[in-house]
Symmetry: C2
Subunit: 188 residues, 2 copies
Amino acid sequence: MNNDKKIINDIEAIPSLVQSKRQIDRYNLDIDAQAILVASRLMAAGAQLGHASEIHFSRFGLSTGRYRLLADLEDYEGEELPSQLAEHLGVTRATVTGLIDILERDGLVSRRLSSEDGRQRSVLLTEEGAKKLREMAPEHFAWLEAMVGLLSIDERSVFLDLLGRVTQGISALTDERSLKPKGNISNE
Amino acid sequence: MNNDKKIINDIEAIPSLVQSKRQIDRYNLDIDAQAILVASRLMAAGAQLGHASEIHFSRFGLSTGRYRLLADLEDYEGEELPSQLAEHLGVTRATVTGLIDILERDGLVSRRLSSEDGRQRSVLLTEEGAKKLREMAPEHFAWLEAMVGLLSIDERSVFLDLLGRVTQGISALTDERSLKPKGNISNE
DNA sequence: AAATTATAATTAGGAACCTAACTATATAGG
DNA sequence: CCTATATAGTTAGGTTCCTAATTATAATTT
């Protein structure tokens, strides 16, 4: 019986400190092995979470992106422009078009032409879409809460703080390459 | 000039505490808003990191997966079976086949038939593959280190601990559905 | 020994997100 | 006015990873 297929994040897939050390030693680099371990673990956790999330939402006939779009729409009184959605979700407008296509096909949102600007199309949350969100809310939020269930309230605050700074670190790395910084990363 | 396209993780894309509270209040759920915030932020961070990682590796003509395969190969004396690689990387064998295809095309690995078992094909790190790893090591590890550069040594330990428990939480959620646990998650 | 079953790798096709090119509309400059 | 340029959304095609089916070889069962 091959139920191993389900368990992707095997113990083998988790990078260890000795592994990080070995890699650094091989090239005689002046790098903190633990820093490498933290970064590697975070990458592994990110991939794992992304995968788990898709499985979670698929039980409601949604994907992570499509749920997030619906939730954002709900947060903005049930009507938004695709470009706003793209900005809120942190994805491209092309991606939003695809998300809307499927949600519209499934009757969870609808498109409407804007009267003010002929280029714009409003996206509206349908009654069915609102119902879907209402129905999945308890289970969904319980799922999210369970994710951090092994952390105490205090630990959650600490984690949030540390994660925020790591996120900042990542942003700095990706922005670095654009030689014209927008000026909002001020700490030298 | 539209260099905004590069900066995907806009300030708007980061979920806030008030947003989490609003969502929970809407359905009168007995859920800790901060827990939702932590979970949401982690998901956002995971996506951001995944994206940043692809950009990082693309500068060396690699993807995250292909780099990880090369690095794992190096860790195992330059020779492994595809099935071992799949397990170590936490991806399916089908994915590994695809990764090897491109790495082989680019001359970074080679395939060899196993003498012992006719079903197996060994994957070998070529000299060119080893050279690639050697060349990118300084920049790559510096990149990883910079990611957690805003954290002190002590904070890295704390972060590692908390992240580990969140990871456990996620694993528990995904395994939950398979009614026959493998019994290797022993700490009750 | 032959037939069944398991395993290793691959192939085929799908989902999510991307970039770049395109269409339609709006705005600005001469 | 009317051409040039910017913007909103979409379309086309690529990448990464997945699941399910397929092929080839090994192990097991009768």
